[in-house]
Subunit: 328 residues, 2 copies
Amino acid sequence: MRVKASAPGKVILFGEHSVVYRGPAIVLAIDRRVEVLAEPRGDDLLFIEAPDLGVSGFFHEGRYHPAAGGRRGEGVLRPLWVAVERTMERLGRKTGVSLSVASEIPIAVGLGSSAAASVATVAAVGELLGGGLTPEEISLLAYEAERVVHGTPSGIDNTIATYGGGLVYERGKGMERLESLREIPLVIGNTGRSRSTGELVGRVRRLREKYRTLVDPIIDAIAHIARLGREALLEGDLWRMGELMRMNHGLLWALGVSSPELDRLVNAALEAGALGAKLTGAGGGGCMIALAEPDRLGAVSTAIERSGGSSLRAGISRSGVRVWRVEG
Amino acid sequence: MRVKASAPGKVILFGEHSVVYRGPAIVLAIDRRVEVLAEPRGDDLLFIEAPDLGVSGFFHEGRYHPAAGGRRGEGVLRPLWVAVERTMERLGRKTGVSLSVASEIPIAVGLGSSAAASVATVAAVGELLGGGLTPEEISLLAYEAERVVHGTPSGIDNTIATYGGGLVYERGKGMERLESLREIPLVIGNTGRSRSTGELVGRVRRLREKYRTLVDPIIDAIAHIARLGREALLEGDLWRMGELMRMNHGLLWALGVSSPELDRLVNAALEAGALGAKLTGAGGGGCMIALAEPDRLGAVSTAIERSGGSSLRAGISRSGVRVWRVEG
């Protein structure tokens, strides 16, 4: 038997950085997914390949033995090993497994590819071992895998990859799931410059320590945008969302987390007729998102690519993790 | 007898747009000047030429008769006619005058060239008619001339052109002159795109009407930056000024008054090592300013020019209007 599972990536629509201090972050699952094919092996090894990344290797007793791509595969594949281990522990069964991971989502640019891969891995291996994991369990097991590589993640990425749709996350208030949202036509622009979330969060923290009376009101304003953005999202008011996104980008600029590449793509998207555009995620590189009427999506994509970014059209993914058995 | 007078242009360092609502604007006189040469004529006409702009013409009983450049000269030259008229009324003397205006400051990009020309004109014509005008009178007469073309100007530009140095202006609180400031090494980057101050002020007003709970805190934050910026300026703390300028640019972005060209020049300056950079004035085009250590000024200028702007190095002008008699 072979099993496939897939889970969506995500974008942060509003609230990056402010969510570290207060107020909500609004996150959308995107209809770009990571797919994991799992099949049992005759031995007790875990083999994982990610052909898109040109890496593959074995995990045996926690040690990584590269097959292709050398040691650089270890960082990406280790959380999947943890996901498999935790899933087997949870289900009380153990077997050798081969996993093949295919992603429609670029990695390490804040689009949640890592959590989507972990969620899909847990779901695929769970099904392979007899199934019965609830979505809550899948999300939690993926969270544990993510924790290995990402320190103390917020839990947003694994949750959105599990459930799809929209999510409002606020520290100390947990998650609110937004369902039956209207279509939100997005273009994601990728600067191709990877960045460290921790470093950018640290940059804002240091700025805040130095200019508390200035940075706190900016954080408050971003948090307020996120609250207004949640309402606009629920109403499907694209115009309002666009205006809020533009203001949000400026405030993130003020916090020092934009970059020349991000500004170039944001300005290009707006000049091409996007209703709004902003960096998404930690900033300093990574991705921006543009919101546009459907008939402007092509022009916005083109403008982003002409400005040196790669573009990816995306809508909301209403479905979260999916798992199915594959014949043959 | 011939008389020359000159007066400096200005940049807004902090507080553009917020000053319309509350808090201070911090303005610096720059060591780039407008010079006016005045000499008496045998007739009762006023002839004004601005060779840099390729325009010249006569004013007779308030009507403009172009000599060079056609009617486009009228808008630039009319306030100077008013300045001459008011000065003659004030001094109770009347004579024909020829004026020649030479400017080191590009016009219509928010650098105060118009007020500097008016101030220099009042001073030159005043001296030609026997002198005795106080700086207060020169500034006021220039203000009256500015009012003809600029509606209800704040009075900042004529004041700074008259006195030089730095100026803190706050609605309802008047002007505070800042003297004996330390050198502030600036590069001005000109996008070459002219803009309408009124239109941009209107854009912020409409955004505020729609998102009052969001725009007011942003305006408050800009006003707070201007207050902190005043302190940093008085302390000569370039680092702090630079950080405040960067935050200020982001907040102005959030208000929708930056432009792709301005962002490009701001980012280029920062990447070239500027301590801070921001749009200056109304935005939407016009100019940006970058603050840099003296040894980085060249690199910052080059970066601005490579990014499609024209650059102008400037320091603070400690002297305001100057007037002197010319032999021959």
